[in-house]
Structures are given as C-alpha cells and as structure tokens.
C-alpha cells in the first residue's frame, strides 16, 4: 500500500523521525518496501495561464504560446504538447529553473522564435515515468505560485507491504492507528460529520443473501455536476497512492476507500429500476463490466441488482451500464459490508482483481459503512454539489460479525514466547491497540477493535503482544531438551553416498526442471503418457517428466553448444509416472555420458566413451550395496535405446532400471552429433544394502588357471560365468573375463573368450591333480551348455 506522508500526517504526527517510524513498522510486521520522494526539489516553475496559442508555421506540432504568470509582461513560450489551449493553467518553467532531467531553462530561439520558458508535463517535473501531456491545473490555481508549493511536492510516498491478515492497514486511517499503537502517539482524525439530508429520496434495499452481505448503506444524491474537476490536491493524493484520477465521483469513491479502507461504489441512479437487491445471480444472467468484458454470472455470485437486472458484481466490480458518466445527474452511493470469503471466491473464479475485492477479501471493518458514506457525501457536495437524501442503512443483525472477548492466560504468553512479559506491559499494549480488556483470575478477557477481524484466538493476542513488544527483544534461550540418538541403519545406502561416488567417478550433478517438453519426453520414454500441467509456464515445460533423460539430454545439448564435448552428468529426483488414475512419484538416479572417455591428457590414449564406461561406473554404485550378486544386467528392450546396446538391470527377479546407448534415430531427432549413453535406476529398489559380514581370508595359496574358448556370438558372458560357477564348486573364488575377441582366427559367428579362474581352498593347499580335474569339469560343462570349444 502506497501512501503520501503528508496525507498520513493529517492523521498522525509521531515525535519520531520518519526513519524511526518506518523501522518500528517494519519490525512490527508492516514492512516498508520503499520511501520515495514525490519529486526532486523544484524552483522557478510556477503556475501560468495560457492566453494565446498560435501554430508555428512549417512545424508539425509546435505552437507559440503567450503565458500569463501573474506578474510582468506575459511570457512567449514555444510548446509541443497536444493539450495546450488558451485558458488552461499549466506549470511554467521560467528562466533559471532546473528541471529534474538537468535541463536549465534559458531564453532561447526555437525555429527562429523567441521562447522564454517551458510548459511542463508530469514527466518534465519528475513526477511520472512518461509524458501524458501538460499538467492542467484547475482554474483557481493562483497565477505565479511555485508549483512545488502549490502541488505540495515536498512529500514522500511510503510503500508498506501489508500481509494478508492486516486488511485493516489498507487505508490511511488503518496505518495511522497502527503507527499510533507502535509510537504511542494520538491519532488526529479529520472530523467526519453526518451530512444533513436535503431530500427525502431513498431506494428500498433488500438483503437477500444475508450471510454474504449483512450490512448495506446507501444514499441518493441528486443534481450533481458530474463533469466538475477533481481538486488538484485530491488528484495528487490519489496519484501518490498509485491511482489515476478518473472523474470526480469515482475519484471521491477511491479517495474514501484509501482514506478509511471502505470500498465504495457509485451508480447512476437513472439506471436503477426501483430498488436494490443484494442477492445471488439468477440462471443465465449476464453483466457487462466496467473493464469492458461481459461475464455470464454463476449462481453463487453475489450481485447488486435492481428489480430487473444485475448492476454490479458485489464488492468486485461495477457494471458498465449503471456506472456514473460525465452526463450523470443523480447518483446512488453504496457502502456495504461483504463477507470476505464470498468476495475472495468470486474474485478468484472470475479472475477479477480490484482494489475493492482486494480489501474485502482481507476483511473490512463491519462498523465502518456509515462513516464512509458520510465522508464521501461531504467530499462530493464540495466537489460536484448536489442534494443528498438520507442515509439508507439496512442491517441483518444476526449475520453481522460478532466481536467476542477472547480469554488470554498470562501463563500461556510465557509458554509460547519463552519469556515473561509483565502484566502491566501487556495491558499497555492492549490499550495502545485500542483493545478493551478485563482482568480475570488467570489473565484477561480481551476484545479487539472491529477493524481487527484477524483476531479470534488466544494466540492472535499473543502475536499482538510480541509484535508491539518486539520479536527481536525475546531472548535466545535453549531449553534443556531430552536428546535422543536416532537409529542409523547400514541397511539403506544413503543417496549422498551414491552422489559422492558418482562425483568421484567424474560425474557432475545437475538439477533440472521436473516439467519438460512433451515431445522430448515422448521421444525418450514413449511408453508412458506424461502428466500435463493445466497452466504450464511455457509451452516447452508442459508435462511432468516420466524419466530424467530429457533433463540430462537437454543439459548435454546446452553444453555441447558451448564447446564442452566431454560430458558426464547425473541427477536424482522424482519421476512422475501415471498409472491409471494414480501417479507414481518415484525417486530415481540417472546418469549420462558422451564424448571422450577421459579428459584430454598425455598419458592415456584418447577414445570415445562407450556402454562399458557407463556400466562400469554403475556397477561400482551397485556394489556399494554389498549385494552385487543380486544384480544382473540382461539384454533388454527400451524404445529410446539402441537395440543392440541396451541392458535391463535386475535385482534378483525385479527390474530396477535400464542402461544403454540412445537409439540412432533418437540421436538424429535431437541433432546429437555423437553417441550418448544413459542409465536410470529406481532408488527405492537399489538402496537396500547389506552390512558386510567378515569372512576370514584363506592363508593358503591361490591358484590361477586361464582357459580360452570359442562360443557362439550370441552367448552372453554372464551365462558362461554362471556355468563356470556352478560346475567349479566352492574352491572357485573368482571368474574374470580378460579377453573377448572375434574376427581373424575365430570361426564365423563365434567369439573367443579368455577367462581366468582363481581357485583357493579355505583350509589347505590345493594339489595339482585336483585343479586339473576341476578345470576339466568346467570345460565339459561349458561344452554341454554352450557347445563351447576349448581354444588350443
């Protein structure tokens, strides 16, 4: 909420400096966003009256004006503004004036014509971001007066950030009350008197939805001059609060709202047919709104209607047809109390936000309506004249918000705050806030002011106490808590361990958006239809990822475009896989490699990364579970992966993820110039770990035997190792493949595999004969299972 300091000073003048007051407010929950001077100091810019305007020949828009500045001879000034015309009073920068953009005004020649000054727009005077023509003063603006004084430009705009619970502070009066409580200064409110009716005209008002509107105040004012001019001081106050001046009637409505916090509305009386009904909308009613759009009203929408038709959406926006125009003669003023939830709901469902709905949503004081209409009447009579009717005040008492006393226990204050605040101090705070209180045996019964609709619980009062007392004055005390040690299980592999291992293996962790481009997602995981967002922020972030590959691939492309061609990445996070009507949100770990296997260096020959580089690193991760025998990699099928370079990873019989090279078609679609290898595993399924059990290392010698065999190319090595393990028995410690070869010297469609068998007995030295027999057994088994031939 932006407020002029001068306006605020009309209501309260604390003895503290502006900075101190701002600091008090900030610390008490009304954060000061900014304090901005209204204008930079100006001198020699005075009120002048344009008496003659003559177009300059051979120019588009320049005119030579004669300007009466109330003293001496009239000035000749060349002006380019569209709205310059004889009779207007405008800010006139005279010789020697320095404007905010550092222009010094001198007598000069423009297009061969003598110019003795400059007529100014709000922009020229540093009061606006852009120029919208000359500032036009009212006809009573005193000629020759300094504009700095006339416009009271020696003012600051204070922008206060108001939290949603403090609707009461969305007005000058509310802020004044708050400053009063914080600085213990009296509020000096302008005297608001009831305006005597000079007419007896009224309208019947019926509250048909009393739970949504329980208090409605109205008044007729006839014979107004709706085309009068809003006084400059009011225009300026509105402007400093961020509101444009529209027309005098509308300006007064806005002014009263800014001053007292009561949103108001004015109708053209001629458009109202015989009375006001505050009701919910009927079937298929439509309303053309002030912002130009026509809406179809839903049945739960609260409207202000006459006997025939809706006139306005209550508390949110007026209708176009019933609005006050410059031709309006008679007006009907509305000052009502609308229930906050109703307005919040309406504003949200129509996506309509107005200054009015903003305040009603946050709660308006239900006792303020008459005061506001009197204030508005007083101002209107001064500006547009007219004859007021009596105040129409319709109340549904049973539905008015009740202000009940709240019981506050003194002991509870200490429990919540952790410090004792003296009872006298607490009572002083309530007095400052204008809250009534009565002592009880254990504390107080406190009644908040009607403006503070946010206060309904004991803890609300405690918040008030600490807010005014100062949250920063509470000591920092550590109570003696009973500490307990939480279990730390070795049975779960922490994600942090996996992350750090990957980092040590050369992978960089990335964090990408979980909403991705649908096309890319379907390319990288065609088997799942990703969950679409209703309101994505951009079209290429429209669905939730079903795997992490889109983010990894996008990051790869981003970096390739920046000449980084050796990439190793990983990411962990949720993937969102729709399963019927439910959504599986699974924690996964994914990685990607592409480009050279090693950073360029002198000691290692350069080569491109391949499937086995990635697989090896993944194996290291899986081995951290101390359950490596539970994991198998089987040739698998994934639509985004190369059919000959895809493995599905299993833990026991359960699939835990995939690893493979991206399918050449996918690479092509993504314009990727080099092979890319990716993996993804479900963390839930891999993180179960075993605590290692110590087995004594045999002290007897290890024996190594190498065998080389020819087998069909399609036989997986994993199967060969399996057969070896089964047939070799318990002496076998390890099988290691140390060479795989196909080509020259190997029969067609076969491959040569060289394996080493490490043998050892737990309690004795193996003898040669036993070893020979074991190896023979293995060779026979390999022959049986795979028709393997021993390579001689």
């Amino acid at each position: 909420m932006k407020v002029s300091e001068l306006w605020l000073q009309e209501w309260i003048r604390p003895a503290l400096s502006r900075d101190k007051v701002c600091e008090r407010m900030t610390m008490a929950g009304l954060e000061i966003e900014s304090v901005t001077p209204v204008a930079v100091p100006l001198a020699k810019v005075i009120v002048g009256k344009v008496t003659h305007v003559k177009k300059l020949p051979d120019t588009d828009r320049l005119s030579l004006c004669e300007v009466d500045v109330g003293r001496g001879a009239p000035l000749s000034i060349v002006c380019g503004a569209d709205n310059v015309k004889p009779g207007v009073r405008v800010p006139t920068a005279t010789e020697g004036a320095v404007l905010p953009n550092n222009i010094t005004i001198k007598k000069s020649q423009i297009r061969g014509v003598f110019s003795e000054g400059m007529l100014c727009s709000a922009y020229d005077l540093g009061m606006a971001e852009k120029s919208e023509g000359l500032i036009i003063f009212p006809d009573d603006a005193p000629l020759g007066a300094e504009v700095w004084d006339y416009l009271q430009l020696n003012d600051t705009v204070i922008d206060v950030s108001i939290t949603p619970n403090r609707g009461d502070c969305l007005s000058v009066m509310g802020l004044a009350n708050e400053i009063s409580a914080l600085t213990q200064t009296k509020v000096t409110a302008p005297d608001i008197q009831a305006v005597k009716a000079t007419l007896s005209d009224t309208l019947p008002v019926v509250l048909q939805a009393p739970q949504k509107c329980s208090h409605y105040v109205g008044r007729i004012i006839k014979n107004v001059k709706a085309d009068a001019m809003t006084p400059i001081w009011m225009q300026e106050r509105l402007r400093r609060s961020g509101q444009r001046s529209i027309s005098p009637v509308v300006d007064v409505m806005n002014y009263v709202m800014l001053e007292l916090g009561q949103p108001m509305h004015a109708f053209d009386l001629a458009t109202i047919s015989n009375g006001i009904h505050v009701r919910t909308a009927n079937e298929s009613e439509k309303l053309a709104l002030l912002d130009g759009q026509t809406v179809e009203l839903t049945l739960d929408t609260l409207v202000i209607a006459d006997n025939q038709k809706p006139l306005a959406i209550a508390g949110v926006m007026g209708g176009l047809d019933s609005s006050v125009t410059l031709l309006t003669k008679d007006i009907f003023l509305e000052s009502a109390y609308f229930q906050s939830q109703t307005i919040a709901h309406t504003s949200r469902s129509y996506h309509l936000n107005s200054e009015s709905s903003y305040r009603f949503e946050r709660g308006v004081d239900s006792t303020l309506q008459v005061k506001a209409i009197e204030r508005a009447t007083e101002l209107l009579l001064k500006i547009v004249g007219g004859e007021p009717g009596p105040v129409i005040d319709v109340t549904e008492k049973n539905y008015l918000p009740t202000i009940k006393p709240i019981h506050l226990r003194e002991a509870r204050v200490k429990v919540i705050l952790g410090m004792k605040i003296a009872a006298s101090e607490i009572e002083n705070i309530f007095t400052r806030l204008g809250f009534h209180f009565e002592k009880t045996t254990d504390g107080w019964n406190v009644t908040a002011t009607p403006a503070r609709s946010d206060i309904s619980l004991e803890v609300d009062l405690i918040e008030e106490i600490i807010r005014v007392y100062g949250a920063d004055r509470v000591p920092t005390v550590n109570s003696a808590y009973a500490m307990k040690i939480h279990p730390l299980s070795a049975k779960k592999l922490p994600l942090a361990t996996l992350r750090h291992t990957l980092s040590n293996l050369g992978y960089q962790e990335i964090v990408t958006y979980t909403f991705v481009d649908k096309k890319t997602q379907l390319l990288l995981n065609p088997s799942h239809d990703p969950k679409p967002l209703l309101n994505p922020i951009t079209a290429d972030m429209d669905v939730m990822r079903t795997n992490l590959w889109p983010g990894l691939v996008k990051t790869l492309i981003y970096n390739l475009n920046r000449q980084q061609n050796r990439i190793r990445l990983f990411e962990s996070g949720l993937r969102f896989v729709p399963q019927g009507t439910t959504l599986l949100q699974e924690r996964v770990l994914s990685g990607l490699i592409s480009g050279p296997a090693f950073p360029p260096q002198w000691g290692i020959a350069s080569r491109q990364s391949d499937f086995f580089d990635l697989k090896g690193d993944l194996q290291v991760l899986l081995n951290l579970t101390f359950a490596k025998e539970e994991f198998t990699f089987k040739s698998g099928v994934h639509p985004a992966l190369h059919p000959g370079q895809t493995a599905e990873i299993f833990r026991n019989e359960k699939s835990v993820g995939f690893i493979g090279g991206l399918h050449p078609t996918v690479l092509q679609m993504l314009s990727l110039p080099q092979p890319v290898f990716v993996f993804e595993v479900a963390l839930e399924l891999i993180e179960d770990a075993h605590q290692p059990k110590a087995i004594e290392v045999s002290k007897f010698p290890e024996i190594r035997r190498d065998i080389a065999i020819f087998v069909d190319r399609s036989v997986p090595v994993e199967a060969i190792s399996g057969t070896i393990k089964r047939s070799a028995g318990e002496w076998l410690q390890e099988v290691n493949v140390f060479d795989v070869y196909q080509g020259k010297g190997v029969p067609e469609n076969q491959k040569s595999i060289a394996l080493s068998l490490t043998l050892q007995h737990a309690s004795r030295t193996l003898v040669d004969d036993e070893v020979v027999k074991l190896v023979e057994r293995v060779i026979v088994a390999l022959k049986d299972d795979f028709a393997a031939e021993l390579r001689k």
């Binding site: 709901h345 200490k414 705050l417 803890v459 920092t476 808590y481 939480h486 293996l505 960089q508 309101n535």
Partner: protein, 337 residues
C-alpha cells in the same frame, strides 16, 4: 719379489681402469680366485728356500689385501656410477599432470542441503521428504490456508486436471510427518518446490528447507536460539540477526529473520538493496489450527517451524548473483563446486 711388485703394479692399473662390474669381477677371479695369480704364487712358495718363505709369504698376503681393497673400492665406485646412470635415465618431468579420470562435482544446492542436514542432525533432527505432486489438503488446507484465504492467491500454483498441484512449499511434509509421528518431533525437509513465476529473481522451480520442532515447552525463545545458531554455523560468521514480526497462515506468532549482509558488512550494497539486511528465513510458532489438523494437542505441545530458500542460501554462501545459473547446468559453472 720383483715379480710381485710388477704384479701389483699391473693389477692396480687394470682394476682402476675397469669400466664395469663385469670386468672387475674378471680381475677378482684373475688375481684372487682359487686358480688366480696370487693363489698360484702362494702355492709356489714351497719351491723357495725355507728361509725366504716367511718374507715371501707375508709379501704375497700384503699384496693380496691391497688388491682386495682396490677391487672393493672400485666396485663401490662402479656401483655408485651404475645407480647414477639409472637415475639419470629414469628421471621424469614431475610437472606433467597425473593420469586421471576427471573429478565430478556436487550441485551447489545439494551441497547446501547436505550442509544443513549435517548441522541439524547434530541437534537430533531427522530428514524427511514427500511427494512433489501434492493435493490441496496437504499443501493448503491443513496448513490453515483455506480456499478463500488471500495467501492462496499470493502463491501462484501449478495445477493438474485432477486438482492435484505442484507443492508450493515444503510445508506439506510437516503435515504428513506430524500425522504419522507423535511428539517429540524434530525434522527437516528439503526439496524442490514450484510457483508460476519466471524472471530475473524467480525460477518456476526452486528449493526450500523446512524445519519443525514439536515438544512440550518449546517456545519462541528456543526458535530464536536455534535459528541464530543455525545461521551462524551455516555461514561460519557471527553475523547480526534480527527477528521481525510477520505473518504466515501456518504459524503464530510469525517472524521473518534478517541477517546482516554477507557481502557488505551492513554498509549497504546491491545485494541487500542498501538496507544492510538480507531476508533469509521465515518462521514462527506452529498455529493451533495446524495442530488440530494433525491431531496434536496444542495445549500440551508447542512447536516451531521455519522455512528458507535453499537457492538463496546457496547464492549468498558462494557469492552468486544469478539465480538462473543454478538451473542452466553449465558444466564449467558446476565444476567450480
């Protein structure tokens, strides 16, 4: 006798000229071996007249010792030379880089997460997480933000067709945890959160940390103490800290926590918008309505909660100025951490 002198002379010459250990070994055998020259000389003593034998014998032994010493000296020298040659041959340029795989990196936000987790673990806090696609109940209602609450409009939310949404804060984790765990409770939750906002200082996805403590007798004074300690430990600096009253629907009383600017020591700079203060945390005492939703007796138990932006903490800690760099994942940027 002359023969022996001559022998010594030529032996000395030969041994001192021996180029390598192999030729030296040859001379050792030649002079001192079982069939060597000197052994032969001793054998031939018998042919001498008996009175000459002792003197001759002594002389042979002296020469033998002399030759032995010569050989040993030469051997030591040659061995030394040989090692020197080997060393010279094997010397490398130690300034060349070692053979290596590259070192990866942990994302800076993750490092912040790990750091915070470690700090709070010391105080007995456990880390919890929850779903990111949430329902309105856990994200709003149970946190005392009913449908018509103005705060609901403040957080521009991503929705799905089935009325689920992307969580706008980590606070739903609080609700889920309190529903299943009875006090005493000490937990933190960290992770991705989402709001429809995309400009210089906002990304539609960002990270939060949430802390919650519920026990008998927990107060605002404890909250102050814990958060002050946390900020001091996190930034490794005793920066000034202030608690400003504020408003959150799920806590009361609520406060925002400002910390003296890390960049300018409160002199005022661009990072702190010339205020000297940085807003780093929001916090407060758990609202009784929130306790009601999770069936915790707010008369018996009190609790505090706090929330902070992990991205902001990360940026302040590492002196970053562009939030978006955290999500661009330029490997050269990430490689710094």
């Amino acid at each position: 006798m002359d023969n022996l002198d001559h022998l010594l002379k030529s032996a000395t010459k030969e041994i001192t000229n021996a180029e390598d250990l192999k030729s030296l070994d040859y001379y050792r055998v030649h002079y001192l071996g079982k069939k060597g020259v000197l052994t032969e000389s001793l054998k031939s003593l018998g042919q001498l007249p008996p009175e000459e034998r002792p003197a001759m014998g002594q002389k042979v032994n002296v020469i033998k010792t002399q030759i032995q010493t010569l050989i040993e000296e030469r051997e030591a020298l040659l061995q030394q030379n040989q090692i020197a040659t080997q060393l010279a041959k094997e010397s490398i340029d130690v300034t060349l880089s070692g053979r290596m795989q590259s070192m990866g990196s942990i994302h800076p936000v993750t490092q912040t997460r790990e750091r915070i987790e470690n700090l709070f673990r010391q105080m007995g806090f456990v880390t919890k997480d929850g779903p990111e696609v949430e329902d309105e109940h856990h994200n709003f209602e149970a946190l005392n933000i009913p449908d018509t609450h103005p705060a609901r409009a403040m957080q521009d939310t991503f929705y799905f067709e089935d009325k689920t949404l992307l969580r706008t804060h980590t606070s739903p984790v609080q609700i889920r945890y309190m529903k299943n765990t009875k006090p005493p409770i000490r937990m933190i939750a960290m992770g991705r959160v989402y709001r429809r906002d995309f400009d210089l200082t906002h990304t539609p996805m960002f990270h939060q940390v949430e802390g919650l403590m519920v026990e008998e007798g927990v107060s605002f004074a404890d909250l102050r103490s814990t958060l002050t300690q946390f900020l001091h430990a996190f930034f490794e600096a005793e920066l000034p800290i202030r608690f400003r009253s504020s408003y959150f629907p799920f806590t009361e009383p609520s406060a925002e926590v400002d910390m003296g600017c890390v960049a300018c020591s409160q002199k005022g700079c661009r990072i702190c918008k010339n205020t000297g203060w940085l807003e780093v945390l929001g916090c407060g005492m758990v609202h009784p309505n929130v306790f009601k939703f999770v069936d915790i007796d707010s008369e018996k138990y009190t609790g505090w909660a706090f929330g902070a932006g992990l991205d902001r903490l990360t940026m302040l800690r590492y002196g970053m100025t562009d939030l978006r760099a955290l999500f661009e994942n330029d490997v050269r940027f990430l490689g710094q951490f």
